[in-house]
Structure formats: structure tokens, C-alpha cells
């Protein structure tokens, strides 16, 4: 196994690792330094660029055969995720000026990258854990509100359960196929013996748990709400992306047959309806987004009904569209001394009068999440349901679309509050920092690109 191959193929990971080390060193040498943020941004950005470059150069290789593989699509997947992480890091300045936020985020990103190019369950497992473990802490970091510790614990316990289930599934699959490579999971999918099926179910339910699909969703609303805004954004976008990429890696291009197809259609459908309905009643933006993200997880898993290579494409494209807009919504949210007050929908009333630009951006994000054309969210949804129909699951597709209809209302409600209500008295919103604006503009640019030249992105996966 030659060394250059490793160093090239794992360039993004290496850069992230370097970033982590650098940040730790910085931490040691100086207690309070403002270099942390730029450092993190630089290394993440560099990693993203490296990934993108690998993708464009069409670099393909498996430095660790059967463990770690790099193909252009995976490279681009990494690039997208890292790119989405950059604005998150940027606008986290208000909440986590200094401290351990950045090394944690970077190591979590490292996990996502690992997932993207995992080839065996061992790598995948490490990736998932590496992604999740820092997030438990991100949830309570800043400790803006006493509940966040509780949320962290809930998340930790359930996510630990998820890992256990995942491993159980892996083990059973190992038992039935004799190997722990992802390819053998495809074999397990097609096999009809009960051991394999049990294995598949355990793995799938682990993914459901990580991606918050009803009824495995219990942790999500609490964790999202208790975490401070940047952490929420990170969870809603990147952790979800990680889970979905993992699922996509595991399923590969294998055909999903009944009865698993039924399972993969039913539970997501339930969570689409459930999430969209429950979100109507939520008083806070974060909790609302949590439920909406449950619904979005539903759409994303619909993509697995579709066949073959289209699957990964659909998942990644949707994640990109959904992710950028989600981050945008959070980045544009004006900062506020009180973490609880900051995202109370009541306080968003009349936001357009006080912070027109922020209101416009959030509004755009909401509409995109609702899947209203011409915003990117729509194209992603279109792609997914197109695949589902092409796979012949017409009824499921129609049901899913109708379910997505239920979601429109609560997004509209946010817009209604921001634009059509008189300004709420003394929300204490401070004008957003320039850096946060920069972050949101970054997301905006990404979204616009996706909307205008979707073909470009589609061709990458």
C-alpha cells in the first residue's frame, strides 16, 4: 500500500486532522485567542477544496482495500458537506467565540468524511461514532440553558442505542454472510433468510434513529431545541447528512425489494406526516425545524425506494439543497442575548420591519424547505419523487407529495409572522454580525447555484 496514495486519497481527512491538532495547540499556547475561528474556517475550507479537487480530477482509488475507498461522487459528497460546514462555523462566532467548539466540529466532520468513503462496517462504525460523539457535547456547549444537559443525555443514550442496534445488525450480517464489507450488506438485502433480514432491520432502524424517523425520532426535537443555534444547524444539516450518506453507502446500488421496500416507504411516510403536522404547533424556530427535519428525513429515505446510482445522487442533491437553506435560515436569524428568546416565533413578528434582509433570507429558506419552486428545495424534492415513481411506487410517491403539502402551512406561518405582523415589542434582537451575514450569503450563493445549474451538481454524483 503506497504512501502517496494514502496521503492524496485522504487529503481532506488529513487536513481536518491537521486543523484539530492546530486548534488544540492553539488552545494550549493561548487561553483566549481569536485565531481559532479563522483557523477552523481555513482548514475546513481547505478540506472542502481538496475534496472538490479530488472529485474534479476524477481521482479514484482504495488506499485501504475493502476499508476505505475514494471515488469522485464520494469526494464531492465530502466537498458538499464540508462546504455546508463552513458557514456553520462562521456564524457560530456569536455563540462560541472561543473554546472547544471548533476542534469538536472538525473531528465530527472527520467522521462524516470517513462515512462518505467507508467500505466496511468497521470504518463506517468508527465514522458514525466519530461524527456523533462530539455532537453530544455540542448540544450542551455554551450551556445557554439548563435543559441542554438533559437534551445531551437523551441524545447520548438513544444514539448509543442506535450504535448498539447498528452493531447488532452488523454482527448478524457478519454471521449470515461471513464478511463485514458493505458489499455483503447488498447481498443480505437480496437474501431471504431470516438472519439476514433481521440484520438488515437492525441496521436500518439504527439509521432511522440517527436520522430521526418516526418512531425513532424522540431525541431530535429536544436536542435541537436545547442546543444553541449553530449546534442545531450542525445537527440538522451535517449530522443528518452523515446518517443519510452512511445509509446510502450501505445500501449502495442494491435493489430494495419487498418487504423492506414497504418498510422504507411506510415509516418515512409516517414521519413526513407526523413531522409536518407537529411542526404546526411549535413556538420556537429550532423545535419547528426539528420536526421539519423529521419530515425531510422522510423525503430522504423515500429516495431509497428508487434504484441504483440515482439513489446516491438524489440523496446528495437533496441534502445539498436542504442543507444550505437550513443553514441559511439559522445564520440569518438575528442574534439575541437570550438564547430562548432568539428563536421564539413570536419574536420574529415584524422582523421585516426591523431586519428586512434577514427576514427576506429566512423567508426564502422557509419557502425552499417547503419545496416551493423555483427554490432549490423543490428541485431536490422533484428528483426524489421522480425516482420513486420511476421505481414504480406511484402510490407511495403521491402519498408522500400530499404529505409534503401538509408541511407548507407552518413554513408560511413563519413568513406571515415576519412580514405581515406588526413588529413585536422589544424582542432584543441585535442586528446580525457581518460575519453571520457573510455566512448566510455563502449559503445563498450555494442555493442559487443549485437552483440555476442543477445539472452541474447532478452530474457530479
Amino acid at each position: 500500500m503506497n504512501f502517496t496514495a494514502v496521503s492524496i486519497a485522504m487529503a481532506p481527512e488529513h487536513l481536518l486532522l491537521a486543523g484539530i491538532v492546530a486548534l488544540l495547540v492553539l488552545e494550549i499556547v493561548s487561553e483566549k485567542s481569536h485565531a481559532a475561528l479563522p483557523l477552523a474556517v481555513v482548514f475546513t475550507g481547505a478540506a472542502a477544496c481538496a475534496a472538490a479537487w479530488l472529485g474534479f480530477s476524477g481521482w479514484t482509488g482504495a488506499p485501504f482495500p475493502g476499508q476505505f475507498v475514494l471515488t469522485p461522487p464520494t469526494a464531492f459528497a465530502k466537498a458538499i458537506v464540508l462546504a455546508m460546514a463552513v458557514p456553520v462555523i462562521l456564524f457560530s462566532k456569536d455563540d462560541f467565540g472561543e473554546g472547544d467548539f471548533y476542534p469538536l466540529v472538525l473531528s465530527s466532520l472527520y467522521g462524516v468524511c470517513l462515512i462518505a468513503s467507508a467500505e466496511s462496517f468497521l470504518t463506517l462504525f468508527l465514522g458514525i461514532e466519530l461524527m456523533s460523539i462530539p455532537v453530544y457535547v455540542l448540544v450542551l456547549m455554551g450551556f445557554r440553558r439548563p435543559e441542554s444537559a438533559e437534551a445531551a443525555l437523551k441524545y447520548l443514550v438513544l444514539s448509543g442505542t442506535a450504535s448498539a442496534a447498528f452493531l447488532m445488525g452488523a454482527s448478524l450480517m457478519y454471521g449470515s454472510t461471513g464478511s463485514l464489507s458493505l458489499a455483503s450488506f447488498g447481498a443480505a438485502l437480496s437474501s431471504t433468510d431470516l438472519l439476514a433480514r433481521t440484520a438488515v432491520v437492525m441496521v436500518v432502524s439504527a439509521f432511522f434513529l440517527k436520522a430521526a424517523i418516526v418512531p425513532f425520532h424522540g431525541w431530535a426535537p429536544d436536542a435541537y431545541e436545547a442546543a444553541s443555534i449553530p449546534s442545531t444547524a450542525y445537527m440538522a444539516v451535517i449530522v443528518k447528512a452523515g446518517a443519510l450518506i452512511a445509509a446510502a453507502r450501505v445500501f449502495g446500488t442494491a435493489h430494495v425489494a419487498e418487504p423492506l421496500a414497504g418498510l422504507l416507504a411506510l415509516l418515512p411516510l409516517v414521519s413526513i406526516v407526523w413531522g409536518n403536522l407537529t411542526a404546526m404547533r411549535q413556538p420556537g424556530l429550532r423545535r419547528m425545524i426539528a420536526y421539519s427535519s423529521i419530515a425531510h428525513a422522510g423525503y430522504l429515505f423515500f429516495a431509497f425506494l428508487g434504484d441504483g446510482p440515482g439513489r446516491f445522487q438524489a440523496v446528495m442533491f437533496y441534502l445539498a439543497a436542504y442543507g444550505f437553506m437550513n443553514v441559511l435560515a439559522f445564520a440569518a436569524l438575528p442574534s439575541n442575548p437570550s438564547d430562548v428568546e432568539r428563536d421564539r416565533l413570536e419574536n420574529l413578528k415584524g422582523l421585516f420591519h426591523t431586519h428586512p434582509f434577514a427576514a427576506l433570507l429566512i423567508g426564502m429558506a422557509m419557502l425552499s424547505l417547503a419545496g416551493i419552486p423555483p427554490l432549490p428545495g423543490f428541485i431536490g424534492k422533484f428528483l426524489i419523487f421522480k425516482n420513486v415513481m420511476a421505481a414504480g411506487y406511484t402510490t407511495w410517491a403521491v402519498l408522500g407529495l400530499v404529505g409534503s403539502y401538509l408541511g407548507i402551512y407552518f413554513y408560511l406561518r413563519v413568513i406571515q409572522y415576519m412580514f405581515m405582523s406588526p413588529a413585536a415589542a422589544a424582542t432584543g434582537h441585535a442586528p446580525s454580525r457581518g460575519i453571520a451575514m457573510g455566512a448566510s450569503l455563502l449559503c445563498l450563493a450555494g442555493s442559487i447555484l443549485i437552483a440555476i445549474v442543477p445539472a452541474f451538481f447532478l452530474a457530479r454524483f
Binding site: 442505542t161 432491520v201 418512531p215 424522540g218 418487504p259 414497504g262 415509516l267 404546526m280
Partner: protein, 625 residues
Amino acid sequence: MGLLTLIVLLPLAGFLLNGLLGNRLGKGFVTAVGCGMPAIAFAVTIKCFLDLKGGGWAPLSEVAYVWTMVGQDTFEVAFWFDRLTAVMALIVTGVGTLIHIYSTGYMHEDKSYARYFAYLNLFLFFMLLLVLGKSLLVLFVGWEGVGLASYLLIGFWFGDMEKAAAGKKAFIVNRIGDAGFLLGMFVLYSAVGTLDMPKINAAFMGTPVPAVSASLVGILLFIGACGKSAQIPLYVWLPDAMAGPTPVSALIHAATMVTAGVYLVARMSGIYLHAPEASSVIAAVGALTALMAATIALAQDDIKKVLAYSTVSQLGFMFVAAGVGAYGVAVFHVYTHAFFKACLFLGAGSVIHAMSGEQDIKKMGGLARKIPITFVTFAIATAAIAGVPPLAGFFSKDEILWFALASDRGGSVLLVLVMAFTALLTAFYMFRLLWLTFFGKPRMLKEVEHHVHESPLSMTGVLMVLAVLSAVGGFLSIPHFLEPMVALPGVRPGMDAYHYWVVGGSVAIAAVGLGAAAYFFGGDASRAAAVKAGFTGVYRVLSNKYYVDELYDRVINRPLLWISDAIFLRVGDRFLIDGTLNGLASVAQRAAGRLSRVQTGSLHKYAFLVLVGMVASLVWMWRHG
């Protein structure tokens, strides 16, 4: 641009000029334009008539422009000038001009003088369009247009809700007729494939006859005619239309517009000749209308109302003629009626003018000496309508009675008896009117009496002209003039003998009517009062016009409103549709509440949900094995 087009456009120009500039350029201008345009139009019409004559009565025709062309279907705005058109056009422009002149005097004080003349010219424009139109489409445009003009003119003094309402009523009742007209037109079009009236007539004359029931078309078109010409059941608007200025009543609601229905039937004779059922319907409706209106007229005290009902009644006469196939005769009566009824209305106008606005004949009397010219002309016209020979009315009415009896297209004894009786009533109530207005002692208030004065020359002159016309008009026999175009019906075998009976009869009728009126109203009103006392019930019914308006209100108006409000709005929109939707919305809201209550915050519960999820999935997996 051809002459025919010019005829049409002249009044339009008048309308535009007066409408846009009238208020700025002052009365003189308005008068000049308002009267000048119709006058010129009249002149041009005469020119056309001469051309027609010079051309050996070959119809003149010209295309103004192509309205639209869809595939092979062409709709063009074309004009057509034949004998029938000539008669109508001459009446319209001639009488029209006269009435314009009369109006200059009558409306002199009115502050919206310009608007008045603008409307009047607009009316002429549409009327000419109606008369000159070659295709049903153009005719219909005029048809609707005159409706609009009458709507505007009836509601001319819109400050008063009554008058505005009358205008609306006229328009809507007309619209009902027009709906029938449209239906007829569409049926015709999809059967014959053209709206060109000469072509349609030809199609029905020729063989094979178009594959559509001529009676259906005929009746549908006649519904339109009913609306325009105030026949049962659509006559109700005409009496109310008297709310407009009197010259308007004279022009629109007596001389020209209301006869459009008759014109339509005459014009479409090609169809009706093949539609015996439709024809008999027309005759029946005509007779009924004539009788009913005449009876109502007996009991009216408003001078204009009396004339209005007599108009309705006379229109009935015309339709009887048309119904029995004597289209020429119908047009003949249109022609004579135009003169004497215009004269009557204008005379009434002059009376009202003299009485400073009073219209109730109960409050008049003894005006003969005070306004002699008005009296004389009015008397002549009355005699004419009563059918006193040798005045115009005598000839036309006599012809109608004759054909009602003798026509081989549905003439019958019953019909002639009804018409004769109606004629008698006509003579009676007209003379009653004459007497109550001009003879006896004055019954008006003193100060009114002082102001009584003869109208200016602009009005009296017109009256005299019309009086002369209604006196001698009858000697020009329209039916024979139209013979080459619309042949008169044959005479039923063995009827010729009775012609003189009919003539004598009609003379007698006039005389009896005159006598009766003189007997009842000549001296003091006691005799009339006695009769009235005898028949109070009948009198109330008559004076209330058989309660038809009330009936319509109850049978049509209110149910429609009720359905719209109670059924469509409350049940349909609010309950069924919006109710369902709001119901769904609230269901969603409640579901949202339920679901978010699942999120109790207890980790145990979440973990349990996970367990349930796993077990369920596993079971699902090997159940569907």
C-alpha cells in the same frame, strides 16, 4: 364609405360630438349637431330611397368591414337596403328628426341638455344599425344598442330611484327577450351556417329546407320580439318606461324601437312562412296583448300611462297582422302608428309642459281653448288611432281586421271578434282621454291654471306636421308597396264577400267608441262614476294592471334571490365548501396537538418507542416473508 354606412355613422358622430364636447361648446352647438345629424341622415336616406327606386328596386347592399373571420365563417358588418328597410329607415330618420326638433323646445331648461341629445343620437345610431343591418349579428347589435339607449333615456333623471329602476327593469326584461333572440340566432347559425338575413330567408324559401324546426327558431326569435315590442309576457317594462322624458317615449317607446319586434318578424318572414305554429302563437299573443292592454288603459289616469298601454295594444294589432301572415299590413300599421302615436305622445308632452309637469288627467280638463294647437293635433291623432276614416289609423286597422278574418294563414272569426272588441275599447279610452283632458271644466289648481300656455313653435310645429301625416298617411298603401317583397296572404275561400262588412264594422266601432266616451265623460263625471261604482272590483283589478308586476315579483324575483342567498351562498359556499375545508384544517390542528403530546420529554418513553419500532419492523419483515 357608402351611403348606407354614412346614414348609420351620422348619428354616431352626433353622439360623440355631443357626448364629449357638448358641455363645453354650449346649447347652440348641441342643438345644431343634435338635430342636424338626424336631418342629414334623413336626407341621405331619401337619397338612398331614390337610388333604390332608380335601381328598379334592386336592394342596395354594402359591406362596412369584416368584424371577424374564423375559418370559413365570416362575420361582416354589412348593410342592406330594400323596400322594407326603406320604409323603416324613413320612419326612423323622419320621425326621429321631428322629435329631435321637438326636444329642443321640450328639454330647453334641462341642465343636462347635451347629455340628452347625445343619448338621443346614440339611440338613432343603434336604431339605424338595427334597421339597416344585413345580418342578424348587426341587427342584434342595434337591437341591444337601442335597449341600452332606452335604458339611459328612461333613467335620464336618475336622481330619482323610481326612474332609474324603471330603466333597469326595461333593460333586464329586454335582456330576457334577447336571450331568446340569441338562442334563435345560434340555432339558426348552427343549422344554416350563416347569419345573413337574405341568405337565411333564401335558405328557407329554397329547397332543401334547413334541417331545423322553423317553428322553434321562429318562436325563439319571437321571444326576442316580445321583449322589444312589449308583448305578453314581457310587456311590463313599457308602462314604467314612461318615466323618461316625453319625447323619448314618443320616439323610442311609440314610434320606433318598440316596433323593432314587428320589423324582425317581417324581416324573417321567410322563416315564419314555414312555421305555422310559430305564426299562430304570434297571432294569439298579439291578440291577447292587445285586449289586455286596452282593458288596462281604460282605468289609467296618468295621461302617459294611457298612451303607453295603447301602444302595447297597438303593437298587439301589428303582431296579429304578422301572425296571420300579413307582414305588409303589420309594417303598414307600424308606419301609421308611428305618426299618430308620436303625435299623441308629443301632444301629451305639450300638455304636461303646459300643466307644468302635471300628468294626471283627473286634474286637467278644459284645456282645448287654452292650448288650441295642441288640442287640434291631439284630436286628429286620437281620431286616427280610433280608426275614424279617412285618417291613417283607419286604413291600417281595417286591413288588420280584414286579414284577421280572411287570411288563409290562420285568420278566424274569433280572432277578428277579439280585435274588433279591442278596437272598440281603443276608441273608447282614447276619446275618454281626449275628453278628460281638453273638455269639461278645468279641474286643476288655480296657480297651475294661470301658467297654462301654448308650447313654443319648435314643439307645435312638429305637432302639426305629425298631425298632417297621421291624417293623410293612410293613403300611401305600404302593403302594396311591399307586395313584391313580402306577399300578402291569400284570402280564405268565400270570404271576399265580407270585406265590406269589416270596413263598415270598423267605422261603426269608431263611432260607438266616440259616442260612449262622449256619453260618459261629456257632461259631468257622474255617469262614469256610476259605472265605476258598479264595477269596483273590476276597476281595481284594471287600475292595478292585473297585478302582473306583483305576480312576477313573487314568482321570479324573490325565488331567484332566495335560491342565490339561502341555497348557493349559505349552504353551497359557506357550509358545504368552506365548511369542509375549515373542518379539515381544524382536524389537522387537533392532530398536531395530539402528536406533539406524544413528546412527553421522558427518555423512557423515547427508548420504548425505539423498541416498539424495532419489534414492529422485525415482525413486518418476517410476516411479509
